[in-house]
Symmetry: C2
Subunit: 360 residues, 2 copies
């Protein structure tokens, strides 16, 4: 068996010890005689797995007691509808900050349910920065302010937390969730698909301040009503049990690494290896403003796009896969989530140097 370095933007590489444990426990979870996949979600075994996953996440992120942690379905694209359904709370409009492809998707979907005020946008200039907060035109009557904390396609990340006063801040954190410590109390709601830093695809984690729920629109499907799910420990419908189990294993792995402080330090080190190299070459380039560069997704282009295919083919031959950029922007993208070892980033930079030397 040879494992590759997998730079996929999601679903993405997972810690090898986590996969080994999952394989070991596949037919018999700790003497239960069952796979976790086979367990009733109402049985004591799975209830313990679910509770441990939630507890670990609360501990890692320091989630305050007045926040609910929900394990739902439908991904961030589902949440783009589910958030306004739940969070309008009798108001008719919401503020959105537009920083790229994922913000645009959120805005388009929200317009089905409310008036959307795009309070700031970095579209001009091609989405290469986060608009400074002093340029945001916020509406004090907005139901919430929505940001995408890390644009997976554009590689643009917030390295600061917006101040939205009394208006709740809502963040799509899908691609930088649990990549570093944050102050949860600054947010009204955080949501994230699991398939980047948490585990397999199929769970959406929602962390929401409890005073904000309970006023969903009447058209909200019960399975996506935060209050109903909170009152039922995310088990109003059958939860994606195995994915929650995998998430718990990943949370345990993060804790064993030293928690989110240690994870952040490692992520900064990995990103520096790649961005530092991009500073030294004009053969490759990354267009994002330096202070807004993502620690998770590093898009870069070859100045000579005719070499793209050769670059990807060579990478594949060296055991580095999924480096092709998103189809909407082209070029390359290295996603270097928590579980990507630094050896993968070093190997990529070594290959970039080698490729430049032979094609530059």
């Amino acid at each position: 068996m040879t494992r590759v370095f997998n730079f996929s933007a999601g679903p993405a590489t997972l810690p090898e010890p986590v996969l080994r444990q999952a394989a070991d426990e596949m037919l018999d979870w700790r003497g239960s005689g069952m796979s976790v996949m086979e367990m009733s979600h109402r049985g004591k075994e799975f209830i313990a797995i679910h509770a441990e996953a939630e507890q670990l996440l609360r501990e890692l992120m320091g989630v305050p007691a007045n926040y609910k942690v929900l394990f739902l379905q439908g991904g961030a694209i589902g949440e783009n509808a589910i958030v306004p359904m739940n969070m309008l709370r009798g108001r008719s409009s919401a503020d959105y900050i537009d920083t790229g492809e994922w913000s645009k998707k959120s805005i388009k979907e929200a317009k089905k349910y409310c008036k959307v005020n795009v309070a700031a946008s970095s579209e001009e200039g091609g989405y290469v920065r986060v608009p400074k907060q002093d340029t945001w035109k916020l509406d004090k009557d907005a139901a919430y302010v929505h940001i995408c904390s890390n644009e997976t396609i554009g590689g643009v990340e917030y390295h600061w937390t917006p101040d939205t006063g009394e208006v709740p801040l809502v963040a799509d954190m899908s691609s930088n969730f649990i990549s570093r410590p944050i102050d949860v109390s600054r947010y009204g709601l955080i949501y994230a698909g699991t398939q980047k830093n948490v585990g397999p695809a199929g769970v959406t984690i929602v962390i929401v301040r409890d005073d904000l729920i309970g006023q969903a629109l009447p058209i909200t499907p019960s399975a996506f009503d935060y209050k109903i799910q909170a009152d039922n420990d995310s088990m109003f419908n059958t939860p994606p049990t195995y994915t929650i189990y995998m998430a718990g294993l990943v949370f345990n792995w993060i804790k064993a690494q030293g928690g989110l402080n240690a994870i952040e330090a490692n992520n900064r080190k990995k990103a520096a290896v790649l961005y530092d190299h991009l500073e030294t070459t004009s053969f490759f380039y990354n267009p994002v403003a330096r202070e807004d560069r993502s620690l998770m997704n590093v898009p870069f282009k070859l100045r000579d796009e005719s070499l793209d295919d050769a670059f990807l083919k060579g990478a594949q031959a060296r055991g580095m896969v999924q480096l092709k950029g998103h189809r909407s922007v082209g070029g390359m993208r290295a996603s270097i989530y928590n579980a990507m070892p630094i050896e993968g980033v070093v190997a990529l930079v070594d290959y970039m140097k080698e490729f430049e030397a032979s094609h530059g």
Copy 2:
């Protein structure tokens, strides 16, 4: 390792060879150097896995070419809302047949989106039968007629296909999906959560006639719009990739068993072992009308309910778990899905006889 006989109603027991294969392939799927969990849903490896799962399901069920097969999220409880959102098609009401707890949930949720006509109900008498079709009061202008083809809690199953004329028949088949051959062309839409006969929880399979989609209500979340998902091969949002892979392994296992004819023969044999015994004893009883008894979920009660705990404890000691009936009805329930070996049912009946002999 000792595997138990797991009678859970879902998530439920899976074929052991499928679990072994999943464990074997966990760290490296067929030389790809990746777990299936780690694969981009846009990569060639996962696209092949997804296409194979769909193709196998089409083959097993004989799905006609003019039907879309979708792999979505949210379970049957999610579909209870998503079905009317998609299937009203400009009409204002839908007919529902009420055969128990799951029908009632569907009816309650549908009322958020349309007028619901309960065209027949077996509530009187305690949900122990399927109402005969000649008693149904169908509305020819209804958008669709909804049935629950197998009531997981009540153990009541349709052993015939309703004739709804020009009005599309919609079936929640969660708990008897792929348990026997059916004529898909008699249905407008079939939906099923995967956590009974298909695999782990987290995928909802929707099979829908293609002329019925494309008229979703404007409030339908894009992730749950059948047309949008059909146009995107169920990848408008990131699909629950690993669960789809597991479903494919289960479909392959069914094919290796001889397909749905062989599966049905085996399911009938297993159910007969249990129901035949229930006919011979008055210590235990099943209240369901003989012709409507479920082949999948067999609820039964002890005449003397004070012995329930002793019965369950003895079963557990003999490696038989999850026999406790649904909390809403009490008693016992043996779910004997495709993957439950006949040895499990025989062991259960042996234990029932032994228990009766010592407590009768």
